[in-house]
């Protein structure tokens, strides 16, 4: 299509109006992308849960206590409820996990450890905490039933590891990034408890996690991006960390899970736990993972749909702009079009030029729109990894392509009809 080069020059001569059109298109794409990303993200979130854990849609249950807090009154009752849950025959497992940071001390490799962290934390929110590492504490059932991560070296945690006292040596697993800092059998200490009551707990490295090991975010296991454990520690709960202060208990409320042996047990287990809760004066509710997912999906989709409609509205407004600009540029170039036709261009050639131009505009805008969306998502959570960035895959790009082609199609229609109406004899003689 050798006419295209000529048209590029003509577009350059009309550059300002074209830039304005592109800006308008970019805004539309940006809004539409936002909706598409939200919908894509749901899929990714669901996939993530099952790829990172052994949780089961129908038999893994989340326990909520909506009124739970860190008061002594509540904590006492909650402990009773926990004890009770463990005695229910159809409950195969119960527990929680928690994410915090510790500062290893009193060990030989400390300088090396700090230097490692300087590297790992450069340009992150952890930058000024090079003496600390994030750690995930597990209850035995959660570790045993749900964790999927493998070891590169050393041994897994065993049942006894989860039954230590505050005075015992606590076994710990080290993330892959620390494999050249710690060795199996290395020990270090870290403070547990708070203020006057703080004391040193001794940890011993028993294993090193395989590269790329993952576990759920303790902040929101379903929605947030999973933690990459390469720069994490993993350890069993010990009494002070798990139940030491009311605050520790309240933190765990965010991540309480039960595993049933059979999904048919759900309603009976639900009834039993709710009954017990009522007796205690706290009001627990249960939800299967699949139900929670569905609720989340429905809410999110609804808001995504709204955003999408706003995007479509923008597209319609933009379309009107694009169509009128295209028509008026055809009108303005009638003489030139006539000249091209006199020298052999057919109406189809002219139409092709018009469509190519629209295609170029829309595609440019779509690409800039995607880049802009990526950039805003990335800005949104600069320090922590944003799960929405995971939505930038071919599936998203294909959808945007479809939307783009649709826009090109709709905006070509009227201008093409316009071209088809042109009468050559009138063009060159200036009658039109």
């Amino acid at each position: 299509m050798k006419y295209m080069l000529l048209n590029l020059k003509s577009m350059w001569q009309r550059k300002w109006i074209i830039v304005l059109m592109i800006v308008q298109l970019i805004v539309s794409f940006w809004v539409i992308n936002h909706a598409l990303i939200t919908i894509e993200t749901i899929r990714y979130q669901q996939k993530q849960l099952f790829s990172v854990t052994h949780m089961k849609e129908e038999t893994t249950i989340r326990l909520f206590i909506p009124d739970g807090d860190d008061s002594q009154w509540f904590v006492e009752r909650f402990r009773k409820l926990e004890k009770f849950i463990k005695t229910i025959p159809n409950v195969k497992g119960y527990g929680s996990f928690e994410e915090t940071t510790i500062s290893p001390q009193n060990f030989a490799n400390k300088t090396r450890y700090m230097r490692k962290n300087e590297q790992l934390y450069a340009n992150t929110r952890m930058e000024s905490y090079t003496d600390s590492t994030k750690i995930i504490y597990f209850d035995y059932d959660i570790y045993r039933l749900f964790s999927k991560f493998q070891l590169m070296k050393g041994r897994e945690l065993s049942k006894e590891d989860f039954e230590k006292t505050n005075k015992d040596v606590i076994p710990i697993l080290i993330g892959y990034d620390y494999h050249d800092v710690f060795h199996i059998g290395d020990r270090f200490q870290a403070l547990a408890g708070l203020g006057e009551n703080a004391f040193f707990v001794t940890y011993e490295v028993v294993g090193i996690l395989e590269q790329g090991a993952k576990w759920l975010s303790a902040n929101d296991y379903l929605i947030d991006h999973a933690n990459e454990l390469d720069r994490f520690f993993v350890a069993p709960y010990f009494p002070e960390e798990r139940d030491g202060r009311p605050m520790d208990v309240a933190v765990r409320l965010n991540n309480l899970f039960l595993q049933l042996s059979d999904k048919r047990d759900f309603s009976s287990v639900e009834k039993t736990i709710e009954q017990k809760g009522k007796e205690l004066g706290i009001y627990p509710t249960l939800k299967t993972i699949s139900n929670e997912m569905k609720e989340y999906e429905n809410n999110t989709k609804q808001s995504a749909r709204f955003t999408f409609m706003v995007g479509l509205f923008f597209v319609v407004v933009t379309l009107i702009g694009v169509i009128s600009v295209t028509i008026s540029s055809i009108q303005a170039r009638k003489y030139d079009i006539g000249v091209m036709m006199v020298t052999g261009a057919s109406k189809r050639d002219i139409g092709r030029i018009v469509v190519m131009e629209l295609f170029l505009l829309v595609m440019t805008s779509a690409i800039i729109g995607v880049v802009l969306s990526y950039w805003t998502e990335w800005q949104d959570t600069f320090f922590e990894y944003n799960i929405r960035l995971q939505a930038f895959t071919w599936s998203l790009y294909v959808k945007i392509m479809v939307v783009s082609c649709f826009i090109v199609l709709l905006s070509s229609f009227i201008p093409l009809w316009n071209v088809n109406k042109l009468a050559l004899r009138n063009l060159v003689e200036g009658r039109e």
Binding site: M341, T343, S346, K347, D349, R425
Partner: protein, 226 residues
């Protein structure tokens, strides 16, 4: 027969707005003729030329170009004829004003199967021949009328078509430039091309060896045939 019109009628508009620009025109033209068309304003000269050049189609009648019935062709086929068989030169030049001399002259070649290099060589050859090579990167809007018409002629030459149609090619030029243009057309005729020129100027018409006089859409006179 090279060009053959049989009872060609052209009517513009419909019903009470209808204008008969040509009525029952029959005409035969041989390869290599140099023809001038004269006649009062509104007599249908441009209409006739546009039909011969496939810019327009007759309302009635048959037009055969090299034996092919052009009235049956679609837009794409007509555009192919405009590209390969006829070139136009207009009073108002018909050049793309915001483009360079080179780009304008190259236009007919864009539809041909030629490499960029071949196109450039051909365009530069004709620009040289017409003495406007130095203007090749200039925008059309920066040229004088005489220079513009030279560019238009260069474009007609580059196309290397057997028919060159000129609608009052000297109408916007002074005498000197007009004569130069006619000299070039004559040169093209000597190279074997069929030239048809519309003019109001007897002197210009005398370059041709056949003169057709139109009035009210009919051929009144066909002088010097054969």
């Amino acid at each position: 027969m090279f060009i053959e019109l049989q009872n060609v009628t052209k009517i513009y508009g419909k019903d009470e707005y209808a204008t008969k620009a040509l009525s029952q025109v029959s005409l035969q033209i041989e390869r290599g003729e140099f023809i001038s068309i004269m006649g009062p304003s509104g007599s249908g000269k441009s209409t006739l030329l546009n039909i011969i050049g496939c810019m327009d189609v007759p309302t009635e009648g048959v037009y055969r170009l090299e034996g092919e019935d052009v009235t049956r062709l679609n837009d794409r086929q007509l555009s192919d004829i405009r590209n390969k068989k006829v070139s136009f030169i207009f009073q108002q030049f018909a050049l793309m004003t915001n483009f360079t001399v080179f780009e304008n002259v190259e236009l007919p070649l864009l539809k041909r199967n030629m490499s960029k290099k071949e196109r450039r060589e051909k365009v530069e050859y004709y620009l040289n021949k017409l003495g406007i090579f130095h203007l090749r990167q200039k925008n059309i809007s920066k040229l004088s009328g005489g220079q513009k018409q030279r560019v238009a002629i260069a474009r007609a030459m580059v196309a290397e078509t057997n028919i060159v149609l000129a609608d009052e090619p000297t109408g916007s030029l002074d005498r000197q430039n007009g004569e130069k243009v006619m000299g070039l057309l004559q040169q093209m005729n000597e190279e074997g091309k069929c030239i048809i020129v519309i003019t109001h100027d007897e002197k210009i018409a005398s370059y041709a060896n056949r003169m057709i006089y139109l009035s009210d859409g009919c051929i009144q006179l066909d002088k010097g045939r054969g």
